[in-house]
Symmetry: C2
Subunit: 122 residues, 2 copies
């Protein structure tokens, strides 16, 4: 049995799935893989996320030690988010998701034009 944050799991996949069972966390990680970002950047980049949800999700990720929050004593405020070591290790997971998405679109969807994301992480 695995014990993480007072929860028990009988499989390490369950640990991972339990952390990332929402709409936003992996999306945030995906963007942070391209480099550190401020709150505002994430708010603008992560598709349609609201400020409140972003705050909540960032807090959860920080508590789980997947991202790091660095506050600068400036005005207006500056807070930079970056991936921890654990966070960076999610890269292969997202790369496989990226690949699967492309494959799935080829079978069950279509590409409508060329405005496709150019992530530098691949």
């Amino acid at each position: 049995m695995y014990l993480v944050n007072e929860k028990e799991y009988n499989c390490s996949v369950a640990v991972t799935l339990d952390i990332f069972n929402d709409r936003w966390k992996l999306s945030i990680i995906w963007h942070l893989l391209n480099g550190d970002m401020r709150f505002k950047d994430l708010h603008e980049t992560v598709n349609e996320i609201t400020q409140k949800t972003l705050t909540v999700k960032l807090k959860e990720l920080e508590e789980k030690k997947i991202i790091h929050r660095e506050v600068y004593a400036e005005v207006p405020p500056k807070v930079v988010y970056s991936l921890t070591c654990s966070g960076k290790k999610l890269k292969p997971v997202l790369q496989e998701m990226y690949k699967w998405g492309i494959d799935y679109v080829q079978e069950c969807g279509k590409i409508t034009n060329d405005h496709v994301c150019k992530s530098s992480i691949l």
Copy 2:
């Protein structure tokens, strides 16, 4: 732009994340990677899922052509679920999640005893 089921995405990761943004689908896939299963088997194996939720999630996965549903004309009923080609291709995603989980537990959790899942897929 990618178009899948009348939805638009600008990144293939978004396609994947949008399909698997719930608590259950990837967990179901994970179990099906070990072999085809009947409804009852999944209900017993997938941790704590209710019948209703299982029905809903299986239907969603079937609509998205990630699993296949085979009905046998028997009494009592027999319905066997299996992964489609797209479904099977999720294996690398889940393998990376499995690895990440183990790594994460080592940094942020602990292993309490030896009752850990022995999946044959790795």
